[in-house]
């Protein structure tokens, strides 16, 4: 698997197969609250995408350099900055300093900061866009999509958690396309709900009820994407043909179920 394929598969897996709303159930509050009108839904989705990217970048940097211990050459060490600070106060101290207990509080701060940052940037450079976002930007601070993205990055920022370790590139791809997945979901939902205004729905189901049922049907539709990454991988890298002279070695790839893969299934190294 070359680099570009890995990145492409990771993007498709994150945005479509393991969609934030339909697979991981995060971001339901804006998904129900802001999906009545198409333009508002698109604004919300775009704002979430911008904030996930910035917050993902920040959380990876903080986790990698400060919070979580790293495995370097089979040896577990404190994160670089933490190690340097410890060396200042206790020269020669060789224990591992693990600050990951603080990660949840730190991430909340980071997300609030990222929202402020994106807000200032947009207000300065894109005033009409800022007017269009209106009240949605500050609301994003308590959005599960962003915290979920940060937690997923936390698992992959250090090699000690047992998950595959991501560099900054994979982190950014994951964070951006997690936001794009949310954008796709909320825009589809808004398109359906604009038509629903004219539909004859039973009174009890109006509002959130029918939205949930629709989300269930959409979720079934998105289950159809399972396996797209495998097919795409085969299309991009067709397995070598067997000839009379060269016999291809049997590949030992674990068969994966259609659902419940880690969001990194595309980025995982193939044996």
């Amino acid at each position: 698997m070359d680099y570009l394929t890995t990145i492409l598969l990771m993007a498709i897996t994150t945005a479509l197969i393991n969609n934030m709303v339909f697979h991981f159930f995060v971001g339901n509050c804006p998904f129900i609250g802001v999906s009545r009108r198409l333009d508002a839904a698109f604004g919300m989705g775009a704002a979430v995408t911008a904030v996930t990217t910035v917050a993902g970048l920040l959380s990876w940097a903080v986790t990698y350099y400060i919070l979580a211990p790293n495995k370097i050459g089979g040896q577990v060490l404190s994160a670089p900055l933490t190690h340097a600070v410890v060396q200042l106060f206790r020269p020669g101290y060789d224990g591992v300093v693990d600050l990951s207990i603080l990660s949840y509080a730190v991430y909340i701060f980071l997300i609030a900061w990222a929202v402020q940052l994106v807000e200032m940037y947009i207000r300065k450079f894109f005033p009409p866009l800022y007017k269009a976002f209106g009240v949605y930007l500050p609301l994003i601070t308590t959005n599960c999509v962003i915290l979920f993205t940060c937690l997923e990055i936390m698992r992959h920022a250090s090699a000690t958690s047992g998950a595959e370790q991501w560099g900054l590139d994979k982190t950014l791809i994951f964070a951006f396309f997690a936001g794009v997945g949310f954008l796709i979901a909320i825009v589809i939902m808004a398109g359906i709900r604009e038509e629903l205004d004219k539909a004859d729905i039973p009174k009890a189901l109006r509002g959130p009820g029918i939205t949930m049922v629709l989300a269930g049907i959409l979720s079934m539709a998105f289950m159809g994407f399972a396996g797209v990454d495998r097919g795409l991988e085969k299309a991009l890298h067709p397995p070598a043909k067997e000839t009379a002279w060269i016999v291809a070695l049997p590949t030992t790839q674990p068969a994966q179920g259609p659902q419940g893969q880690a969001p990194t299934s595309a980025g995982a190294p193939r044996q």
């Binding site: 599960c144 009820g209 979720s219």
Partner: protein, 216 residues
């Protein structure tokens, strides 16, 4: 301190019935949908939410006179984050397999709208007893909702309830003849779509019952 809000008992009753966090306020849906494919997972989640809700409500209520309006939300979130960290570590220490099963959804309690909403609506405005009553009521209402959704999903989806096998899928009945199953479990119910469908239809059912009661 003269409280000019509902009393503790009123708050408690409100949380279970008329202001049920899941069915009436539609708050905190991420864990509600994600962990309800088994009853045991749902009840563990409800317990974690209850712990965080009660602790943060009590603490915010004690701090309410010192709160500055513009820093309010930040204090709420940091308080909640501290208690969630405690709950998360306790789960990882004593119920490791459950902690693996719930995965990222325990830390996601931090951004659960139920808790921030209760801090905002009740704890920041009222004394200790109403805040405590409110927290216990909301936690009970949340647990009841999670229990209802997860019961439907587990019974229909895997033929079990709380891990006890109720029926072996597929169910055969002799007078239907061989080879025609009378009932097969709906595996869609334990997958993501089942969560959305169950919650949507239960919301409709609750709304219908409330409307009927009002009309009567």
């Amino acid at each position: 301190m003269a409280d000019n809000g509902p009393s503790a008992l009123q708050r408690f009753n409100n949380g279970i019935g008329p202001e049920n966090p899941v069915f009436r306020q539609i708050l905190g849906l991420c864990p509600t949908l994600a962990v309800t494919n088994t009853v045991s997972g749902a009840l563990t989640m409800a317990a974690a939410v209850a712990f965080v809700l009660i602790c943060s409500n009590v603490l915010i209520s004690l701090l309410r006179l010192q709160l500055k309006p513009h820093l309010r939300i930040l204090v709420f979130t940091l308080t909640i984050a501290a208690f969630v960290t405690i709950a998360d570590r306790v789960l990882a220490a004593y119920l490791y397999s459950m902690s693996r099963l719930l995965g990222p959804y325990v830390p996601l309690i931090i951004v659960n709208c139920i808790i921030i909403a209760r801090c905002e609506v009740c704890a920041a405005k009222q004394g200790l007893m109403p805040a405590l009553g409110d927290a216990i009521g909301q936690a009970t209402g949340n647990a009841a909702a999670l229990l209802a959704i997860s019961s439907v999903r587990e019974i229909l989806g895997s033929g079990k309830w709380f891990g006890f096998t109720l029926y072996q899928s597929p169910v055969h009945i002799s007078w239907l003849g061989q080879g025609t199953p009378f009932w097969e479990s709906w595996s869609i119910m334990i997958l993501p779509p089942g969560a959305f469908l169950t919650l949507g239809l239960l919301l409709g059912l609750v709304n219908w019952a409330v409307a009927k009661r009002k009309a009567a």
